[in-house]
């Protein structure tokens, strides 16, 4: 029997979990079918899309819903990626890969963490860093925040390059165990979207929306700006850390500069193009942009026109900004 919930807060147990369960079930049936009928290359692409959906959706918590335009998301992805990799890295390979000075706490003398705790630790560390960095940086508004968070990203990537004894510097870490797959990635996609949906339904979510509309009036309504900005920033960073960990254990090799400005741009424009005021906008943006990249990469390489994909992304972004500021799923076709 379908229970109609008239209040806009589905607070009953079933009201929360039924949509989640149904959505997850549906998602997995679809993925199951995909798994049967599609070839490996396409499944690979779909998995990559899933990782970027997590990144873009979680970024949208700050950039879209709270109105804090952050360019630092890939910094948190990097933290999540390196943390989880250092935890799951095979002991037998450590010496060969020149990762000696890892404290036993992280990996143990001859112990290799399972994927899930390693991934979660990556997310948690990213969240902790977000807490520390966010406290000063989130005082800043608009453009200042954009540049300061970009600075954070640059600081993190150069530190990853500089701290050679942990990270092997610019050469990066290879032969990472292959733990991410279609299934666990999409479980995390479901969790991310579900958690975001719950946050947006809750009091903190409404506080975030109020902050986006006007910090001054939010404050006059008694909303603690810093608390909810941090809430958004830290939750976003946690999922960024998860996305980074999934990414590392999928591509199986990471370098500091992978997480720098190109990836930032890539993730930042996903919600904008898809529709930053819609729960599924970032996912749509991620799917679209990555599908496009995989479609065009062969052409780019065959013709030797490197940069074509980014060129198209940029043109798409500017067009969206000029003619459809709400993004594809945006309601209004023109910003007010």
């Amino acid at each position: 029997m379908i229970k109609v919930n008239y209040s806009n807060k589905p607070n009953t147990f079933s009201g929360i979990w039924i949509p989640f369960g149904v959505g997850l079930g549906f998602l997995f049936v679809v993925l199951g079918i995909f798994n049967l009928v599609l070839d490996n290359y396409i499944l690979h692409i779909i998995t990559v899309i899933g990782i970027y959906i997590i990144a873009a959706t979680s970024l949208n918590l700050t950039n879209g819903y709270t109105g804090l335009f952050s360019l630092g998301h890939t910094g948190f992805m990097l933290i999540g990626a390196y943390t989880s990799v250092l935890l799951t890295y095979k002991v037998s390979l450590r010496a060969a890969y020149n990762l000696p000075s890892l404290p036993t706490l992280l990996g143990g003398a001859n112990y290799q963490w399972p994927f899930l705790p390693a991934l979660l630790t990556g997310g948690v560390i990213a969240a902790i860093v977000a807490m520390i960095v966010g406290y000063p940086v989130l005082r800043l508004r608009g453009h200042y925040l954009a540049v300061a968070s970009l600075g954070f990203m640059i600081i993190v990537t150069t530190m990853a390059k500089g701290m050679k004894s942990f990270t092997r510097g610019a050469s990066g870490i290879q032969v990472i165990p292959h733990y991410s797959n279609l299934w666990n990635v999409y479980i995390w996609v479901a969790i991310t979207i579900f958690v975001l949906w719950r946050i947006l339904q809750s009091a903190p979510g409404r506080a975030m929306l109020a902050i986006r509309e006007s910090e001054v009036s939010a404050q006059s309504q008694g909303i603690n700006l810093m608390k909810y900005k941090l809430y958004a920033f830290v939750s976003g960073a946690f999922f960024a850390g998860i996305a980074g960990g999934l990414y590392a254990h999928f591509t199986r090799s990471i370098r500091p500069y992978e997480f720098s400005f190109s990836m930032t741009f890539f993730i930042v424009i996903m919600p904008i193009i898809g529709g930053s005021r819609n729960l599924f906008g970032p996912a749509l943006g991620a799917s679209l942009l990555i599908a496009m990249r995989y479609l065009l990469k062969p052409a780019e390489e065959a013709l030797g026109v490197y940069g074509l994909v980014e060129l198209i992304y940029a043109a798409l972004l500017v067009s969206v900004m000029l003619w459809r500021p709400g993004g594809i799923l945006g309601k209004e076709s023109r910003a007010k």
Binding site: V147, G162, F265, I269, L311, A314, M321, L322, P325
Partner: protein, 296 residues
């Protein structure tokens, strides 16, 4: 520990790098003062200027002065285009839409250069007279002196332009209130276009300077200097053009000192240090060193 000559050498190098940042910051401060926009696309003009000069001088063998003039003109023209296509329609809308669009324009130009010219860096050769080495108390090339003198000349001209000329005064007026500017009879669009043209033309010239000084140009060379220029604007004090210049020199010196005086492993952090400084300044003195709330 360090000899006096070494220290002066570092200061000199810092001033040369600082000159470039200061010129970039000048244009950035102008545009920020008027539109409240961090123009990420400003950095792309560096790249455009560098490649434009490279092709004019080495492929088409134009005379040096002509190549410089054409480079500056192209920079101004690209500034005009980006304003007309990208920003004009979005002005007065949500604050961040300009910023996001400028990111898009930056990426567009960067990848257009990557696609049309090369994904590989080019070696940038100087005309021989700029490479002459002068060895005295400190060692430098003619290009270093060229950069410093050009910077001083541009700053004086720019100062006079903003202070004295009708359009310069109008720029400051618009920075204060676009509505009032319109109702007293200022053609606001035209003046804003001019500010982009001037800022972009200067940025294109710094592209040549960068190539001539550091000997290598690439499609993504402009990003970091562009962002650092904005940091200079913030550190110097948003809204203050002298502040932006000061910020530029300060960052130039700090970066050179990071490389010149700190242990070897630290040089990786020369950009990171700039941003750390930015965050500290924003927290301690959000108005920057010379910043006042209102004026340019």
């Amino acid at each position: 520990m360090y000899g006096a000559s070494y220290i002066y050498q570092q200061i000199f190098n810092g001033i040369v790098l600082g000159s470039i940042y200061a010129l970039l910051a000048l244009g950035m401060a102008l545009v920020y003062g008027i539109l409240g926009l961090i123009n990420f696309a400003h950095g792309a003009l560096i790249t455009i200027g560098a490649f434009c000069f490279y092709f004019l001088l080495f492929k088409f063998n134009l005379p040096f002065v002509l190549a410089i003039i054409l480079t500056i003109s192209l920079g101004g023209f690209v500034g005009f285009l980006s304003e007309a296509i990208g920003y004009r329609k979005l002005r007065g809308g949500p604050g961040l839409s300009l910023l996001i669009t400028s990111l898009g324009i930056y990426i567009f130009i960067e990848n257009a250069i990557k696609l049309l010219i090369s994904p590989q860096p080019y070696a940038f050769f100087n005309p021989p007279f700029l490479n002459r080495i002068i060895n005295s108390f400190i060692t430098f090339r003619v290009i270093d002196i060229f950069i410093i003198i050009t910077t001083i000349v541009i700053m004086i001209c720019f100062g006079l332009f903003v202070k004295r000329s009708k359009i310069g005064i109008a720029m400051r007026g618009i920075a204060e209130s676009v509505e009032t500017a319109g109702l007293v009879g200022i053609n606001v669009n035209q003046v804003i276009t001019w500010s982009f043209v001037v800022a972009s033309a200067i940025a294109a010239l710094t592209g040549f300077m960068w190539g001539a000084k550091y000997g290598q140009i690439s499609y993504n060379m402009g990003f970091m200097p562009g962002v650092i220029a904005f940091v200079a604007v913030v550190i110097g004090g948003i809204g203050s053009i002298p502040g932006a210049v000061l910020g530029g020199f300060l960052i130039g010196l700090i970066q050179i000192f990071t490389v010149g005086f700190l242990p070897l492993g630290w040089s990786v952090y020369r950009d990171a240090i700039v941003f750390t400084l930015l965050i500290i300044v924003l927290l301690i003195k959000p108005m920057g060193i010379l910043g006042r709330r209102e004026s340019m």
